[in-house]
Every structure is written in structure tokens, then in C-alpha cells.
């Protein structure tokens, strides 16, 4: 028996970048978050080679979950090819040796900023959302200690008050992204700044969603097949963005969430926000093989 057989040899970096105890903590906190859907669980939030606010929360969860057999997809505002998405994707591959993909159907682990892919996720897929501010009560209660008591008491009257105020002032609910939603009938969460369009996708979804805020050191989760209900008045129904009839000028995809591209003449053209869906639609149009999975929305309508 020698020291060499008892210890590991020195490596410049732990597998998946984070050290084992950091990953263990995040695993434990993630399990806790899954056990209490929608409840914000504090965690230590280590340093990663990226500035806080650029997805460090999501990155830490991804680094914890990743293994060499997991295929990784990273999206930023729907796009796989933005600088931020590409950097995170490369980083994850480099620290884990995991294969990468842009195709939602092939991915095992999807880290995303501000979108949920248009193709339905499956039970064997995990979605990690980067969250800048996990506290839905912050706009109505700046004191976080009191906000925590409010969660404990399910004291969410003021969330509705916020909606009331929006309707009174503007005639409609103005909350565009981060639409507060009740998880499993108990905790109100902010689903990260995904558009309203994506909120119904979380309701009774087959996949696990983990939402992690690195700067705020909190994560919460929506386990598979969990109710997620956007807060609404009984007599003012929830409405998603009016994108159902828009057509992507590049791919011809229709009935999905679009990016608006202002034109010189003052009009707008639209491109499908889920870039890989756009790519696959173009391939298919050009006669190339492309498998497009079942989508949450069909012809711009959410399947009931």
C-alpha cells in the first residue's frame, strides 16, 4: 500500500470543472428543489470562469449534471449560435468531454437562456434555465426576509395586485417575460425571463426543468408532470404573445415564437426565435433530411 494507490494523481481541474463537494452540494439542493416544486433553495454558487449574470447559475447545474454520455445543447434567446451560447457549449464540452448538438431532439441536457425549445421535450431530457432573478415577489416586496415569509404563508395577494394595477393602467396585463406562475398549487415562481409563449409549455411537461440563479445563489425546479399555472384573474384569461399567425421570412416556419426584425421602411419582418427549428425547416424545404419533433404549438395554438 503506497500513497499513490490511496490517492488520485494530481489533475489541473476536476471533472466538469466544479470540485466534487460543490457538485455534491448542487445535487443535494437540486433534489431538494425537485422535492418541493417551485420553492427557491439557496446554494453556495461557486466561481466559474464567466461573469455573474451571464448564466453562471445554469452553468453550475450543467457542470454538475454532465457526464461523457450526455449530449449538450445550449441556447441563448432561442439561438444556438450566439457568442454566449457557443462559449458555454464549448466550455461544457471541454470540461466534460461530452458531445454537443444543436438539435433539440438529440440533446440530453439543454441549458437555455430565456427560451424553451419549440419541440416538445421528453422525460429523458433535462432543461436548465438561467435565471437572473429568482424572486417573483421582489417587485412587490423589496425586503427579501419578508418575501420569504410571504412564500411560507402563500401570501401572494400582491402578485395579483400587480396584475390588477397593469390592467387598470393599461387595459391588459403587461407582464411580458418572467410571468409569475404557481407551481404545483403552492409556490409562485418566476419561470426566468422566458416569454409568456413558453409558460404553458411547463405545465405538466414530461421533462425536468431546473432554474438556477448564480448571482442570487438560489435554484428551484419544476419536476416532470407538475402543474404550472400562470397567475390570472378568473375573468381575464392568460394570453400568450400574438405570434400564432406570423411566418418566418427565412424558413417559412409558421405559428411559433418569432424575433421581430425592424426594417428600413419602418415595417418588421420576423424570424423564428428557435434557430435550430428554423434550420431544420429550411433543410426540409430544400428537400434535405431533417427530423422535426412534435411541437408544443400547432398552427400557433397550444395543444390542449
Amino acid at each position: 500500500m503506497s500513497l499513490e494507490t490511496l490517492t488520485k494523481s494530481w489533475e489541473p481541474m476536476s471533472y466538469g470543472f466544479l470540485d466534487a463537494s460543490a457538485k455534491r452540494e448542487i445535487r443535494r439542493k437540486t433534489l431538494k428543489a425537485i422535492a418541493v416544486p417551485g420553492c427557491q433553495i439557496p446554494y453556495a454558487s461557486r466561481e466559474v470562469p464567466m461573469a455573474r449574470g451571464w448564466g453562471t447559475g445554469g452553468l453550475q447545474v450543467s457542470c454538475t449534471l454532465i457526464n461523457p454520455d450526455m449530449r449538450v445543447k445550449v441556447i441563448d434567446q432561442g439561438a444556438d449560435d450566439s457568442v454566449n451560447a457557443a462559449s458555454i457549449r464549448k466550455f461544457l464540452a471541454r470540461v466534460s468531454g461530452a458531445p454537443v448538438t444543436m438539435d433539440t431532439l438529440e440533446a440530453d441536457l439543454i441549458q437555455s437562456r430565456h427560451r424553451i425549445p419549440e419541440e416538445k421535450l421528453r422525460e429523458d431530457q433535462v432543461l436548465v434555465l438561467q435565471v437572473p432573478n429568482p424572486e417573483p415577489l421582489r417587485p412587490v416586496q423589496p425586503n427579501m426576509s419578508i418575501a420569504r415569509q410571504m412564500h411560507a404563508d402563500a401570501d401572494y395577494g400582491r402578485m395579483w395586485l400587480q396584475l390588477y394595477e397593469q390592467i387598470v393602467r393599461s387595459g391588459r396585463v403587461m407582464q411580458g417575460a418572467s410571468y409569475p406562475s404557481l407551481v404545483n398549487g403552492r409556490f409562485v415562481m418566476t419561470p426566468s425571463p422566458i416569454p409568456r409563449w413558453d409558460v404553458p409549455k411547463m405545465d405538466m411537461a414530461a421533462h425536468l426543468t431546473i432554474l438556477s440563479a448564480g448571482r442570487e445563489k438560489r435554484l428551484h425546479a419544476v419536476p416532470p408532470y407538475t402543474r404550472v399555472e400562470p397567475l390570472v384573474f378568473d375573468d381575464v384569461p392568460f394570453r400568450v404573445e400574438d405570434h400564432g399567425r406570423l411566418v418566418c421570412t427565412r424558413s417559412g416556419a409558421r405559428g411559433f415564437f418569432m424575433n421581430e426584425i425592424p426594417q428600413e421602411d419602418g415595417t418588421s419582418s420576423f424570424e423564428v426565435s428557435d434557430s435550430e427549428l428554423g434550420v431544420k425547416t429550411i433543410h426540409r424545404r430544400d428537400g434535405d433530411a431533417a427530423r422535426i419533433g412534435e411541437t408544443w404549438y400547432t398552427d400557433g395554438e397550444m395543444a390542449q
Binding site: 390588477y164 393602467r169 378568473d234
Partner: protein, 265 residues
């Protein structure tokens, strides 16, 4: 010299509010000494005393914002049992939200100054679980109307309103759920005299029309006299005298009450 009064014999209803022997100290300062009170349904109890007499502390105890060191407090309402000071934070919040209304002297304590006035009223209803926008709107409008708030301003934030109007918003919020008990802490103090008269007048009318049980605290004898059926006089945390309002003002027994009455009348 004076006779000791008997226990009530003819009044058939039980007191709505029973507070027994409330005591509370802040460090060396004894804010309440053995303060007891009963209030019958539909009655208005006035509490007078100068600042520091403990009257506001007592009211905060009745609103369950403050827990005394000793004493008990009960409300005779369906589903409300036992000493209310034993309730946890959640129990207190739900009880206060649904059964007790309060109007503070300082509207900042009672209102979200940047939200709309109607929203402030609607919040009460939201806490109680109302989730229909139109119903919230109607009830907020009705409560503001009953408080004689000008409805064309119902969506203006209180911060843009005058002091008298802010008190009306507080009042509307307090009565929106038709509380069993309305607590008023110096509701007109700091307002111009003419505005004060109007707010008092609204309170009086509401009391006449709805028979709301009220406890009103003020250092202003005129306010207490206008509204109260019975009066409690407090000094240095203790009750020095209590009786029918006209009796306390016309025939005060305690030297302190005599001083108060003579100083003000």
C-alpha cells in the same frame, strides 16, 4: 364616593371583543399595565389619552401587530377561538385580513402609496382569495364610494392625494371586507380641521348605517366624543377611568380625566 357597577344583566349578546389584563414593557418603559376592555357588537369604544399613554400600543395589540407580555384577547366570531395572541403569524394575518380593519394616523403604514387607490382596496379582497377582476373592481368602487371617496380618482395613487383622501382610501380598504371590528388610530389627527370634520362625519355615518363595532384611539376629545358610546381614559399605560361617553365627559371622576376635560372644553 362612587358606586361600583354591576356586571351586565340585560344585554343578551356576548361581547365581540374581550381583552383581559394586557401588559407590555419596552425595556424599562411599561407601555401597558393590566389593560382590559370589552366591546359589544355595534358598540364604539373610544380610548383617550395623551401620547405615551399606551393607547396606540393597546390598539396595535388588538390588531395583533404587537404581542403583550401578559394578557389575553378573544373575538366572539364563528371559527375564531381562544387567545388570539396564541395564533401564529399566518393565523394572525388571515384573521386581520378578513375580520379586522384598521385605519392608521399615518397613511404610509396602511397604504401602498404608489399603487392605485382602488388597488389598495382590492388588495384586501385579494388576500381573502377573490380572483375575479370585475368583482375586485366593483367591490373596491363600492367601498371607496361608501367612504365618500371621489370615484373619478379611484385609480390615482394615494401619494398624489390629499391627507383626507388618503384616510378615505384607508377607510375603504378597512371596510371592504365588512370586518367585524374596525380599529381607528388617530384617524383624523394631522388633517385640517374642516377635512377632519368631513372624515369624522363619514365615520359616523358608516357607523350609523352599518353598525360596525369600532375601537377608536385619539388624543382629541372631540373626535372621541363624536363617535364613541363608551370611553376609556388611559394614562401611563393604565386605564384610569371608563364609562359611558356622556358620563365621562360630563362627570369625570379621576383627576386626570377632569384635567383633560377641563383643558379641552
Amino acid at each position: 364616593m362612587t358606586l361600583t357597577l354591576d356586571a351586565p344583566r340585560f344585554v343578551e349578546t356576548k361581547p365581540l371583543l374581550t381583552a383581559r389584563n394586557l401588559s407590555k414593557s419596552y425595556g424599562d418603559v411599561q407601555a401597558l399595565r393590566d389593560v382590559s376592555a370589552t366591546v359589544y357588537p355595534g358598540e364604539v369604544l373610544g380610548i383617550v389619552g395623551e401620547s405615551g399613554s399606551g393607547k396606540s400600543t393597546f390598539l396595535r395589540c388588538l390588531n395583533l401587530e404587537e404581542t403583550p407580555d401578559a394578557g389575553s384577547y378573544s373575538l366572539d366570531l364563528p371559527d375564531v377561538q381562544g387567545n388570539l395572541f396564541d395564533l401564529d403569524r399566518y393565523g394572525r394575518r388571515m384573521l386581520c385580513a378578513t375580520r379586522i380593519g384598521i385605519v392608521y394616523q399615518n397613511p404610509h403604514l396602511g397604504l401602498l402609496m404608489g399603487h392605485s387607490s382602488s388597488g389598495n382596496v382590492a388588495e384586501r379582497l385579494l388576500v381573502a382569495g377573490e380572483r375575479r377582476f370585475e368583482v375586485l373592481r366593483d367591490k373596491a368602487r363600492n367601498a371607496l364610494d361608501a367612504s365618500e371617496f371621489p370615484l373619478d380618482r379611484m385609480d390615482a395613487p394615494p401619494i398624489e392625494l390629499s391627507g383626507g383622501m388618503q384616510q378615505r382610501v384607508q377607510l375603504a380598504k378597512a371596510i371592504a371586507l365588512e370586518p367585524a371590528l374596525l380599529l381607528l388610530d388617530e384617524p383624523t389627527t394631522g388633517l385640517d380641521v374642516s377635512v377632519q370634520a368631513l372624515v369624522l362625519d363619514t365615520l359616523k355615518r358608516l357607523q350609523q348605517e352599518r353598525r360596525i363595532t369600532m375601537v377608536i384611539v385619539s388624543h382629541d376629545l372631540g373626535v372621541i366624543r363624536t363617535l364613541s358610546d363608551r370611553v376609556m381614559v388611559m394614562r401611563r399605560g393604565a386605564v384610569v377611568e371608563e364609562g359611558l361617553a356622556d358620563q365621562v365627559f360630563q362627570d369625570p371622576q379621576h383627576s386626570y380625566t377632569q384635567q383633560l376635560v377641563h383643558a379641552k372644553l
